[in-house]
């Protein structure tokens, strides 16, 4: 019983069970695409025929812009790399950036949101104004500036990829902050928090034992939404030339930028794979996010009610969250 309950309470698994029809289709499709993306990212070293920065095989140089052939299933790039390999390795870079960006912004965002939302006062007001200001600014532009500032212009694997990840973090923290804070403010007014206050629990205990865990229900949702934005931002940075260099890591946006010239010369095989990879990765994560969003909002959930709800759901059912409450997220 306890076992099953735990499984049911896992975010995505539970929602999968809950979903029906189109929503289930979307969720399953999203999970499949994202699963594909993650598997490819993790197993890139075994899946990719060559390394991402490999220029020559046993027969010497691969050559630049070679059309697809048995040796190079998707041809080679203008720099003489194997397109298929770089596309596969690109998943690893994207996943790495997503994971780092999300971990950092979740932690920073949760902490700030919790403290700000629970304690309130002038600190809260200042943080809210700052977060709103940053949130309302075009994230890509901010990410560009942050990426340059953080990396000091270096684009090796560690400085480059980390800088991209941190830049994306900087852009996302306000979003997590807003969501967590809004939740905290809502939960703060719940009777069970008041009851903890009446009992005489310390502020610290209330914040972490009672408020925090009840304020995170929309995180899986916003994480998926931000994961897709992280991929898009990373690719856009690469596309604008603020990204990662080919010998340091494979990055789809960079490869796409490199292939712009090829496209007009009729060389399609260098542009389509990284482009499609970006679309697939974003699509997968977005589909999951969309479905979670629908399922989290009783108004949008397809018309079936779950017989067994989780504790978090019990609350969720009384208070719909939808993306609109959190402000729009791309």
């Amino acid at each position: 019983m306890a076992q099953r309950r735990l499984v049911d309470r896992l975010p995505v698994v539970h929602q999968l069970k809950q979903s029906v029809g189109l929503q289930r289709g979307m969720l399953v499709a999203g999970l499949a695409l994202t699963g594909l993306f993650i598997v490819v990212a993790i197993f890139a070293p075994w899946l990719a025929p060559y390394s991402y920065n490999q220029l020559r095989g046993p027969d010497g140089l691969f050559g630049a812009q070679q059309p697809p052939s048995p040796e190079h299933l998707l041809g080679t790039t203008v720099g003489g790399y194997d397109v298929l390999s770089r596309t596969i390795w690109g998943a690893q870079t994207a996943l790495f950036v997503i994971v780092v960006a999300i971990i950092l912004s979740v932690f920073a965002g949760i902490l700030l949101g919790l403290v700000s939302g629970y304690l309130g006062g002038w600190l809260d007001r200042v943080l809210v104004v700052i977060a709103d200001a940053i949130y309302s600014f075009p994230s890509l532009l901010l990410a560009i500036v942050a990426a340059i500032a953080i990396s000091g212009g270096q684009s090796g694997l560690v400085p480059g990829v980390m800088a991209a990840a941190i830049a994306i973090t900087v852009v996302f923290i306000p979003q997590y902050f807003r969501v967590v804070r809004a939740e905290v403010v809502r939960v703060k007014a719940e009777a069970f928090v008041e009851s903890a206050k009446v009992i005489g629990a310390s502020t610290w205990r209330i914040m972490f034992r009672h408020v925090l865990r009840n304020s995170t229900r929309s995180l899986p949702l916003i994480i998926t939404l931000n994961a897709s934005e992280a991929i898009a931002t990373l690719a856009a940075l690469g596309f604008l030339g603020f990204g990662i260099e080919p010998t340091a890591a494979a990055e789809w946006g960079y490869d796409l930028k490199e292939s712009i010239g090829d496209v007009s010369a009729g060389i399609w095989w260098t542009a389509i794979p990284p482009g499609v990879a970006i679309v697939v990765a974003i699509l997968g994560v977005t589909l999951i996010g969309e479905s979670l969003n629908d399922l989290a909002d009783p108004r949008l959930r397809a018309r079936r009610r779950s017989a067994k709800a989780t504790p978090a759901d019990a609350v969720a059912a009384t208070q719909p969250v939808s993306r609109e409450f959190m402000g729009e997220v791309e």
Binding site: A64, G80, S151, S155, P246, I260, D262, I267
Partner: protein
């Protein structure tokens, strides 16, 4: 060659359609005192007069606006102007304009300007309306006339320009303060500029044979490529990517025109921090030299040229590129297989002889954003070539340009990429800035003999002897290997098949005047 007067009678009338030239270069400012970049020079060349210049397909400095220009003493360079010169707006163009132009350039010393090229100019004197005397600091400066053909050499109208500040572009255009082959009649900054023939032009170059030119700016080379391919622009000049040029060369709607390029690419070694460099733990000049030589032995310039640049850059085996008096192939015989190809055995032997343990760990830097989008591919290939031999392990890194510029002179990079575009069309421009003890590379290279030879050639008034000296300097540096030259860029323009008069020469100026359609 004299001033070839207004031959084309009915020029300057907007009767025909103007030609459209597309570029990805950008203008900094129209005022010559405020710019030190190709994009601005490309415009200034068309609209400002220069005292001296190089004629089409020649590297010899000859009078342009001037009637005559010559050394009248060791430190005096005297220029005579013809009578009755006029600016396009009708103002008189006299020696006072000339003096004004140089004085203000030095006075303003704009951070973005090229006043530093006037390092040898002491003062300008104007005995009368048609005579200008340049007083120089050092005697017999052979480079000075070349400098007059380049950035700081543009003459401006003293009635329009400000003596102590950069004059706004629109003011210049509104005042029609032009004296070159063209006037600008419409100025949409970095978008479109319309050039109309200047009827008052009396310089060396032929007056425009077309009815005007529109310069259209692009941000993306791929868009420029598509534009010329679709016939939206007549000529695309600077800078199409190698892929673009390669693809366009197969297209029979357009012609690809190329000419010698002054642009070079090379690897700089920091003599302090390179393997076995002066400040490393195992400092040993002989071993350090062996490492540089091994690199020179191993790089396959031809492969880079073909794979990365598709022939738009060609192998460079010396310091002065082809097209200049004194250009040699100094490294060709010394390194590699003797014919320009790489030679692993030779590199191995060199390293062994010097007692260097292999593989040598070499840290190599490049800038991804300053020398075109292909730098990454270029250096990936260099790394691959060096490592393929088993003699090197290369740690390749890239740094965004601004940081790169700071780091490279702060001894952060043991070996790194750099490129050079000449300030003026003389071989000296490939030697003086590089191989004197005080040089812009800041790589701690210092060789007394080289230094002396460089200083000598700069003041040698005998052209033949000077050329010999320039060749000797290259031979000397080729042995010491302060830098390893890699590639020389060709100038490439792509034009519709119906366009004539695209001339790309060692002046590195793309002149609009001879274009016709």
């Amino acid at each position: 060659a004299g001033g070839g007067g207004g031959g084309n009678d009915d020029g300057g009338n907007a009767s025909g359609e103007p030609l459209i030239v597309g570029t990805t270069d950008k203008v900094t400012t129209l005022d010559p005192a405020g710019s030190y970049d190709n994009g601005s020079l490309a415009v200034q060349t068309q609209v400002f007069p220069y005292l001296v210049n190089t004629d089409y397909n020649s590297t010899e400095v000859v009078p342009d606006l001037a009637e005559s220009a010559e050394f009248t003493s060791d430190t005096e360079y005297t220029v005579k102007l013809p009578e009755g010169l006029k600016w396009a707006n009708g103002n008189d163009l006299t020696s006072s304009d000339v003096k004004f132009s140089f004085d203000r350039n030095l006075k303003i010393a704009d951070p973005n300007g090229a006043s530093s090229l006037l390092y040898n100019l002491d003062s300008v004197e104007t005995p009368d309306d048609t005579t200008v005397v340049f007083h120089l600091k050092t005697a017999n400066d052979q480079v000075f006339p070349f400098i007059l053909t380049s950035f700081p050499g543009a003459i401006v109208d003293d009635e329009v320009f400000s003596a102590d500040a950069i004059t706004p572009d629109q003011d210049i255009v509104d005042a029609n303060a032009f004296g070159g082959p063209y006037s600008i009649t419409s100025w949409d900054f970095n978008k479109t500029v319309e050039f109309t023939p200047n009827e008052n032009y009396q310089g060396l170059l032929d007056a425009p044979v077309n009815d005007g030119v529109i310069l259209s700016y692009f941000a993306e080379s791929s868009n420029l490529k598509l534009a010329v391919q679709e016939g939206d622009v007549d000529v695309a000049y600077r800078s199409l990517s190698a892929t673009d040029v390669d693809d366009l060369s197969k297209n029979d709607k357009v012609q690809v025109v190329d000419g010698p390029g002054g642009e070079i690419r090379y690897i700089v070694f920091n003599f302090n921090t390179q393997p076995y460099g002066a400040t490393t733990a195992e400092a040993d000049p002989a071993k350090a030299l062996a490492v540089r030589q091994a690199v020179a032995d191993l790089v396959d310039r031809q492969a880079i040229s073909e794979q990365v640049y598709k022939g738009t850059y060609t192998p460079l085996y010396s310091y002065v590129p082809e097209g200049f008096a004194g250009a040699t192939d100094a490294l060709k015989g010394l390194y590699g297989d003797g014919e320009g190809g790489p030679d692993v055995d030779k590199a191995k032997a060199t390293l062994e002889a010097a007692g260097v343990t292999t593989p040598v760990a070499l840290s190599l830097q490049y800038s991804p954003d300053h020398y075109g989008p292909s730098s990454g591919d270029e250096y990936a290939l260099v790394k691959s070539q060096l490592e393929e031999s088993g003699l090197f392990t290369v740690d390749l890194k890239s740094t965004e340009w601004v940081q790169y510029s700071k780091d490279r002179t702060a001894d952060v990079y043991p070996a790194y990429q750099l490129g050079w575009f000449p300030d003026y069309s003389d071989a000296d421009n490939y030697l003086t800035p590089f191989f004197l003890t005080e040089n812009f590379l800041g790589n701690h290279f210092s060789d007394e003999q080289t230094e002396q030879m460089i200083l000598d050639q700069a003041v040698n008034p005998d052209p033949a002897a000077r050329t010999q000296e320039i060749e000797d300097i290259q031979a000397r540096v080729a042995e010491l290997l302060s830098t390893v030259p890699l590639l020389q860029g060709a100038q490439v323009a792509v034009a519709g098949t119906d366009v004539d008069g695209v001339i790309l020469d060692a002046s590195f100026k793309f002149r609009f005047a001879p274009l016709t359609k």
